[in-house]
Symmetry: C2
Subunit: 372 residues, 2 copies
């Protein structure tokens, strides 16, 4: 199957994938994880109303979902104070990032992101032949000034910025983000990934004119709303950009059940408030656990906590391996210096009990193997 | 948002969409349809076990689906007598066609299809800048010899062939398809879309070596299995081609609920047999209804029947408009001479009752407006 069938670009792409799923690891281990704390899933789950809405929708699954996602877009527009024409609904932020890159990035086109930022964005840029220009983190934060400078220097098509950030959990206040929007270079589009913003302190999400052509915001039902498995993301952007997605998107790509679930999730503000409180409690407990074991938890505005393991990547990897061996699924950043940390999702009390039981031995083992 | 942001290709694409959904029409009309018979959905619905499996999966939707679709691939491989490495699972055949075109078709690359064949395939080819070379139908059948000749003449990357065919419902026997595979030109990949094949007469699906690099088969849970809204399609192809999808696909694009539903659907062979019988009964009734109204139903191996309205596209359009006005959602082929027909899905008895009540008046109106 090499040779003439594939495009040159497809032939040139590596066989890598952005993330290995926990199920793959479970199959390799021959054993299930006791605590699923590696993918920043929201173990507090969706609202019971979401579950009920999806269960009710199941018998109607013989029908395609509305390809315009009309009702969900109207609800989202109402929620965000914009028009439905400013909303694009898609198969998770991952899917929307793929469409956006396809619309804007051709072979050799420069795109700016942070070194160690979201791998799936880098996957899409590489997948369309773009040239990824990476800017280092600064003090475990994405570096707004450096991102903007690099975007201007490279005349980048896109500059990707996540707020709060993944994998470190750090964040910038709304004013800093608004200031970034104001300084986006001519000809560059800011991709503001706010996947975790509903879990961040009030004042993290700036007010942005939805018709501002300099920025596209990405949101998701996967994190705060507890619906990662439903694959519903959305973008807020100027109407002409939103319309452009219609040229290429998989119009019938949305699950009808997921559409129903997302609408129900958006309507249940009490559940979201409860989730915020539960996540905050879990974050605090993870941080306390880190301190109790002589490790440094990083401040987080997300549903995960990055824990500095006190060494370099080898140390973090050793701790991670020790946790995996003890049936605790966690992940770690890919790039230095962030990869001195492991990343732990804000799970349920039971999951954190399992983590608490496993961490001291995993750590002792790692420290014994890698004496400082 | 014009100017430097979009790629030249994206800028050049029209704002058209492959299909307008029935919900869009309902919103424009301000009134719901009484019978949803236009999208070849399977109104007999999924197996009750599918509904139960999806309802059970709903509370686990906080977890991402397995990005490898491992369990479903193993089940599909067992069902088809191939290896999981021969299977690609994706967001409907629509999604898989998009990935396949992206892997193989660059700007200007020739691709062969039938004139009036599946619009979403044409949408993807245009979307990646391919040059679509169209071959006419012959006697309302896709023309295997002409497709192969055109593919050889154009040195096409892909030749698309649906068996059974949509929108006409016609089909070729397995031997003819096997013969087509044997004659695929060097350097061309046959895209064999078998979306409806589970509803076709026995002997329609040929035995094909899953490792044959000349062909990729597309299957779906949207039609015979009654799960259009769940977005689960799959491809069967040589392992190297299957692996190539991993370079570009949305790895976490599948709904976890849909994965569970598809596995349950595959396991319930009794339900599939019942569906085949119900669809056959509905097809026969639609055909009888056509005859009773002086129209010519075309033979069908699918869950829809194309009805020749006895004139040209204007006549078919007039009948269709009359049905729409009477709250019956139907569609019609886009291209002559197939567009002398309307296309009616094999719905439930209640839906066909509504059609039966509406058709004579719609037809009388059309005949009065367009005297022959």
């Amino acid at each position: 199957m090499s040779g003439p069938i594939f495009t040159h670009l497809a032939t040139s792409l590596p066989a890598t994938v952005p993330f290995v799923g926990p199920e793959t690891q479970e199959r390799a281990r021959g054993r299930a994880f006791a605590a699923r704390l590696g993918a920043n899933e929201n173990a507090f789950g969706p609202s019971p109303r979401v579950v009920a809405a999806m269960q009710a929708a199941a018998s109607g699954v013989w029908m395609y979902g509305d390809p315009e996602n009309h009702d969900l877009k109207v609800a989202l527009a109402h929620h965000h104070g914009c028009r439905p024409e400013n909303i694009v609904v898609g198969e998770g932020i991952d899917g929307l990032l793929g469409y956006l890159v396809r619309l804007t990035v051709g072979p050799g086109d420069p795109v700016v992101t942070s070194d160690g930022g979201y791998p799936t964005f880098a996957f899409h840029v590489a997948g369309f032949g773009g040239t990824l220009c990476k800017v280092p983190y600064r003090n475990d934060h994405e570096d707004i000034d450096a991102l903007l400078a690099e975007a201007a220097h490279r005349r980048a098509k896109l500059v990707y910025f996540a707020n709060p950030d993944n994998p470190m959990g750090s964040w910038h206040p709304a004013a800093a983000v608004a200031g970034m929007v104001a300084r986006v270079p001519e000809g560059t589009l800011l991709v503001l990934d706010e996947a975790y913003v509903e879990l961040a302190p009030d004042g993290t999400a700036p007010a942005i004119d939805p018709d501002d052509p300099r920025v596209i915001r990405m949101r998701t039902f996967s994190k705060a709303y507890g619906m990662a498995g439903a694959r519903v993301g959305y973008a807020i952007c100027a109407a002409p950009l939103a319309r452009a997605f219609d040229k290429i998107r998989n119009h019938f790509g949305m699950s009808r059940i997921s559409q129903a679930g997302a609408a129900a999730a958006l309507a249940d503000r009490d559940w979201l408030a409860q989730t915020r409180a539960r996540v905050a409690t879990a974050r605090d407990r993870i941080a306390a656990m880190a301190h109790a074991n002589g490790l440094l938890p990083l401040p987080s505005a997300t549903n995960f906590v990055a824990i500095d393991c006190g060494g370099d990547a080898r140390m973090a990897r050793a701790v991670l391996d020790g946790l995996i061996a003890r049936d605790i699924f966690v992940r770690m950043p890919f790039v230095a210096p962030q990869n001195r940390a492991i990343r732990i999702s804000a799970g349920t009390a039971g999951m954190l009990d399992a983590l608490e039981a496993a961490l001291p031995a995993a750590l002792a083992e790692a420290r014994a193997a890698l004496p400082t």
